[in-house]
Every structure is written in C-alpha cells, then in structure tokens.
C-alpha cells in the first residue's frame, strides 16, 4: 500500500509542473478570448446602430470591429508557446518541476490580465470611433488610430509574457 501511494505521489510531482503550466495556458487563452468577445460585442452594438441607418458604412465599421479581436489571438499565441515549452505538442518529453510550472503560469498572467481589460477597453474605444465615422467617414484613418492606441498595452503584455517564459530554463 505504501508503495502504491509513493508511486502515485512520485507520478503527481513529475506531472504537476506541466499541469500548472497548462492551467496558465488555459487562463491566458480564456481570459484574452473573453475580453475580445466582450470588446467586439460592445463595438458590434455601435456598428449595428449605425448600419441600421446607413448600411453603406459596413466596410469601415468592420475594420474597427476587428481591432478588439487581436487580444484573443495574443492569448492563444502565448498559450501555444507555453504548451510547446512543456512538450505537450509533440517533440521530446520535457520534465517540468512544480516551480518551473509555477514560473510558466506566472509568465502567462500579464497576457491574461492585460488582454482581458485592454480588449474590453478597446471595444469601447472602437464603439466611439464607429460613432465618429458615422458622421465623418473621411476620418477613418484617425478613427482607427484611436482604438489602436489601446492595443499597445496588449502587445507589451505579450512581449513580457514571451520574455518571462523564455527565461525559464527547462
């Protein structure tokens, strides 16, 4: 009996590190994706309102609607990096200690948190920009730049997450 428990504990400790990293990857992709979904929904409402009166604005609105969607892609990208690092997507098996797993989990937090909030904020900014083009379609260039400013912080979070993940030696 003692031997069975010892084997179980040993197996758990060998795999727990990888599982913590996987949990981090799930949270990163989940939060970033949720933020994007909310952000796009906010911008969608504004676009639907404008297009009810002026369907010709679809092309311009689509550009602004796509912006909050990028955070979801960043989250997915960071999650891929993490599961590649722990060898779950093919290649040689990698042994991940609990501390390394926690390290990977922590490195994914910037992307999870920043992408969630920046996507929601970018959705609001895009909604405002859609109102701008409803009145002044010729200002589409400026209208895209305004919500794109919010994107900066999602990109910085992605950068930091990748740097932190690379700094963990397996």
């Amino acid at each position: 009996m003692d031997q069975v428990v010892a084997t179980l504990l040993n197996t758990m400790s060998e795999q727990l590190g990888a599982m913590i990293a996987v949990l981090g990857a799930g949270i990163a992709a989940g939060f970033a994706g949720s933020g994007s979904a909310i952000g796009i929904a906010i911008a969608d409402e504004a676009a639907a309102g404008v297009m009810t009166e002026d369907p010709g604005k679809f092309g311009l609105a689509l550009l602004l609607l796509a912006l909050p969607g990028t955070q979801g892609i960043y989250g997915l990208l960071a999650a891929f990096f993490a599961i590649l690092k722990v060898g779950l997507l093919g290649g040689a098996a990698v042994k991940v200690t609990i501390w390394q797993g926690i390290g990977i989990f922590g490195s994914l937090m910037p992307i999870a948190i920043a992408c969630y909030y920046s996507a929601v904020a970018q959705g609001k900014a895009s909604a405002g920009a859609i109102l701008l083009i409803s009145k002044r379609p010729e200002e589409i260039g400026k209208a895209v730049i305004l919500p794109a400013m919010v994107e900066t912080y999602a990109v910085l979070a992605l950068l930091l997450s990748i740097i932190l993940m690379n700094s963990i030696k397996l």
């Binding site: 906010i42 409402e45 309102g49 404008v50 109102l131 409803s134 009145k135």
Partner: protein, 338 residues
Amino acid sequence: MAQAESYGYTVARLRAMENRLLDSGAFQRMLDAEDLQGALKVLNETCYSSWLVEMKNEGAFDGAIEAELNYVYREIGQFVPDKALVTLCKMPYDFHNIKVLLKSSFLQKSGGARRWDLLTRLGNVSPEFLIESLESEDYRLLPFGLRSAVPQCLAQWEQFHDILEIERQLDDLLFSEMLKLAAKLERKGVVEWVRGRIDAENVRNLLRLRRMQVENTRIAGFLHEGGIISVERLLSLTGEPLESWGRLLAYTDLTGALSELQEIADFDRLIVDVEKSLDDYVLRVVEQTRFSSTSPEYVLYYLWLKEMEAKNVRIILVGKANGASRDVLRGLLRHVSG
C-alpha cells in the same frame, strides 16, 4: 433604468440619424426661397418629403412637420431601452391637448366653436381617448395625474372663470410629473434636463409677466418648483432691471441665455430673442452627453435637436407664407446641428 452599456446601439443609431437633421445650409436655402412654394420645394429634398406628398394644400405644412416628428418619436420608441425617455419628451404634448380640450369645452359653453384642430398626435395619449374621457366625464384612465387635475380645472372654471390659473395648475402638474418620471429613471443628466426645462419656462414666464405688467406679488404663482435655479432666487429678480438679470444669475448656465437682456430696444423682440436662447440653454444642459457612446441622455439631446429642427422649419414656412423678411426669420432660427 437600463444599464448605460445597453445604450450602445441606441446612441450609435441616433448618431447616424443625426446626419439626416437639416443643417444650416438647408435652412439657408429655405430662407433664400422666393416664397412658400420655393421653401417647400427645398424641404421636399429632405426627410420631410414623404410627408409633404400627403399634404392637401400648401398651407397644410403643419401636418407634414407633425407627421415627421411623430415618425421619429415612434421609431425611437421602438429601440430605446427606456421608453420613459420618449414618454418624458412627449408629455408636454399631452398637457397641450388637455388645455386645448378644456378651453374648447369652455368656449363651447359660452357659445363659441371648439378648436379640436389644435390637437396634436404627438402626445403619449391619443386625442380620441382624451376627447372621449372628457365628453363622457370619465377621467379614471387619464395618466400623469390628470385623473384628478381635469375635474379640478373644470370646477375651478365654474367658480372663477380664470383660464390663466387653470393653465398655471396644469403646467405645475406637467413639470412635477416630468420630474417624477425623470427621478424614476435614476440618471442625473435626465433630471438636470427636466430642471433646465423648468428654468427656461420660469424665465419665459417672468419676462411675459413683466411685459403684461403683472404685480410682483402675483408672479410667484406662475413659477414652477424644481428648477436648477430656485423660485426664491428668480423672484428676487422681479425688483431688478432686466439688464442686471444676467449678472445676478452669473453663477448659473442661464447667464448666457440672458445676455440678450443687455440691449433692450423692443420688448417684444427681446422676448423672442430670449426664448430662442432658452431653447439653446435646454440643449446645452445635455450637450456634453454627445461625447459618450453609451449615454441615455443622448436620446433627450437628439429629440430636442429634432424638436428644434421642426420649430425652425415651421418658423421659415410660416414666415414665407406671411411674407416675413429673410433676416427676421434667420434671427429666429434655433441651433440644430449636432
């Protein structure tokens, strides 16, 4: 009240609808028209065109203006998350209808003709229902406190024959009901807008009463409670020369509207100018909401712009029908462009 976030669609749609409001160029072209026919021709190129084709004769443009306003109210009522915002804007029309019906009934009693042609379909309650209620003396289903106010007004008329007092009571009820409804919506901006309208009405009343040389002791009754500026403060103006009103109210946003009072040459002209400034003041109360993409107050802002547009169209068409000069008409136009 619905969450502000649920106004994303509404505000965006209203923003797009704002593009269809008549701009200064359209008003200018109407003003430049030779006569009423020319002005109607310009109007026919705008969103009013679908109603103009239903006009029986050139003089029936009021029906087209009312139809356009009615269409906008109906349309917005279908997609705004809080229908009470539209109800709030339409409420003065219900009270207008009640006043018309009561006055018609008084006129009829003294052998005159009833003026149902002055009724409007812009109210929350249909004119037919109001007529039926008054004719059958069944006031139970009348909304906005009219259930008890109408029999009171009838009794008041029987006793004193004082139409001014009846109008005063109904206006008092209108503003208290508007405030009550605005408070239910739990939006500071909506309440402020109603309070701004009360201020505008109070200042308008003060000026009219001064023109009529009504004694200062009687003025208090014609001022409505609930405005941003207290009745006491407004009453203190009655003893002051008109030129100093703007200075005495310098701490309020009304001071801009009262700047017209600096140059008093013709009192009638002055009242017209101040009324125009007061309409702009009501717009300014909710003007900052146009910078938000989810502000419920934007519904009030848009509807007020639409009302002002209709007012401008009416001013120009009535002016053209009566041969008024272009400069006089231009001076009467309200601010419309958003």
